[in-house]
């Protein structure tokens, strides 16, 4: 460990935003699943209710849970539709509150929606002013070449994470994941959320044009939320693979220990 050095990698605004956002995203996902439980069916277009065609449905026949996706029914007892002795779409373990309560979930959801939006705006402003966006997040010219990206994909597939000087910066796939969440995922969540508001549809009718109607917006809201949940799973897996103590320290204190270069023999 003698050749590894401690570097200051994560500045305070990034750390503050990261942890605020981490709590917020969990609250949004858990309360969102509770709200979804009120009507666990998704449609495309302007309207959609029980007698209309749903492209996705989570339900149950008695104690048998199922998910119907594009007309194909998949048994999901114990996970979705029926689990923990509860006949709701998403089980009590992952919803907030645990017991069926849509109005309380809405109060939480719309409070943390403001935290999400204000945090995002603050972070975006910081990333631009401090040049964090250009210095750390946007891909360098050489990183955008297909061969470079392909190499990064292969390295990830082999779980060969960057070491030494290369670990000083985010790698291309990591940058793309963060940019996807920041630049696409979160804005889409906010805009599709607003499209579901009847008052916003009157104030900003272009929202309905953008997302092809309120029920389409609700579907996109759900799909992007699933995407964010997938990001969290991969993100946490990468933290574990890269060394959870070191990674957590860098996100709490800002200080990160550069993992030593691989010995030359191991590099072959």
């Amino acid at each position: 460990m003698s050749d590894s050095k401690l570097i200051y990698r994560t500045r305070l605004p990034v750390r503050l935003w990261h942890w605020t956002n981490a709590v917020t995203i969990f609250v949004m996902l858990m309360t969102g699943m509770m709200i979804f439980n009120a009507h666990p069916r998704l449609y495309w277009g302007a309207f959609g209710a029980n007698l209309d065609h749903a492209w996705l449905e989570i339900g149950n026949h008695g104690t048998q849970g199922f998910v119907t996706l594009f007309g194909v029914q998949i048994p999901t007892t114990g996970v979705l539709g029926y689990a923990m002795g509860s006949d709701v779409a998403f089980p009590p373990l992952v919803t907030l509150p645990g017991q069926y309560n849509v109005p309380v979930a809405r109060i939480w959801h719309f409070f943390f929606a403001w935290v999400l939006v204000i945090g995002w705006l603050g972070f975006a402003l910081y990333a631009i002013i401090s040049r964090h966006l250009w210095n750390d997040l946007l891909l360098k010219r050489e990183e955008t070449s297909p061969s470079h990206l392909w190499q990064d994909i292969k390295d990830h597939a082999r779980l060969r994470l960057p070491r030494g000087e290369a670990a000083r910066h985010y790698n291309p796939l990591q940058k793309l994941a963060y940019l996807g969440v920041l630049g696409l995922g979160l804005p889409l969540m906010v805009l599709t959320g607003l499209t579901m508001s009847p008052a916003m549809d009157a104030a900003w009718p272009w929202l309905l044009v953008l997302f092809d109607g309120r029920q389409s917006a609700r579907s996109i809201h759900f799909i992007v939320a699933a995407g964010l949940a997938f990001f969290i799973v991969v993100h946490l897996a990468m933290v574990l693979l890269a060394g959870p103590v070191n990674e957590l320290r860098s996100m709490i204190t800002g200080w990160y220990r550069l993992p030593p270069e691989r010995p030359a023999t191991e590099d072959k």
């Binding site: 302007a46 959609g48 209710a49 508001s197």
Partner: protein, 250 residues
Amino acid sequence: MTGIVTRRSLLVGGGSLLLAGCDKWTTSPQTLNLLSLGEKASRSAQRLVGDRNALAPEFTRAEMSPVFRVNGSTNPRDAGYVAHAASQFADWRLMIDGLVSTPMSLTLPQLRAAPSRTQITRHDCVEGWSAIGQWTGVPLGLLLRRAGLSTNARYIVFHCADTLLGKPYYESIDLVDAFHPQTILAHSMNGAPLTIGHGAPLRLRVERQLGYKQAKYVMRIEAVASLAPLHGGKGGVWEDNHNYQWYAGI
């Protein structure tokens, strides 16, 4: 009693206990009071970015839901309402009173003969589903002007014939929504008189808010200065008894 506790039941039981503990905190009045600041901010922000007369989207006949489902109260069993329904609402009257200079009592034929607005709009339930239907009715603003709304009035309250879990249904809106051009008292739906399932003989349409504000079976319209003295004081049966927010624009 066998005394056998399976690992599964222990896990499920322990989990439920933990969740119940969490819920005690996540649903406590103090927590909800603080967090409902978010919905208050949403209301202010929505009023700020939208014109007070901004119209909810309207649709063509071809864009309507093939079937517009019914929900909430679909067949009130209240004796007075049952009698009105049996006589095709011949003796039914809409009362308009409270902070008005000329309280009114209107028959169904009078309301049907009054100037009306027809609109094809989307109905959004708080649960998440939407249905598009055509509504015809009298603009609420017109009736309030005729009744001589007092300058002290701040809210319009709709008292209904039905009950929800034993509580009389009522709802309320502020004057911005009351005088909005699309806010009507609908007596017809899809070109025919309202069915009982959809709120016969008269229901409110307040198109920039969610379904629970669209009071059905409206019997009486009351203009008030404050919602506090009415029932639970929060302006509606869902608000008083189920933690739903008074502003349902989101």
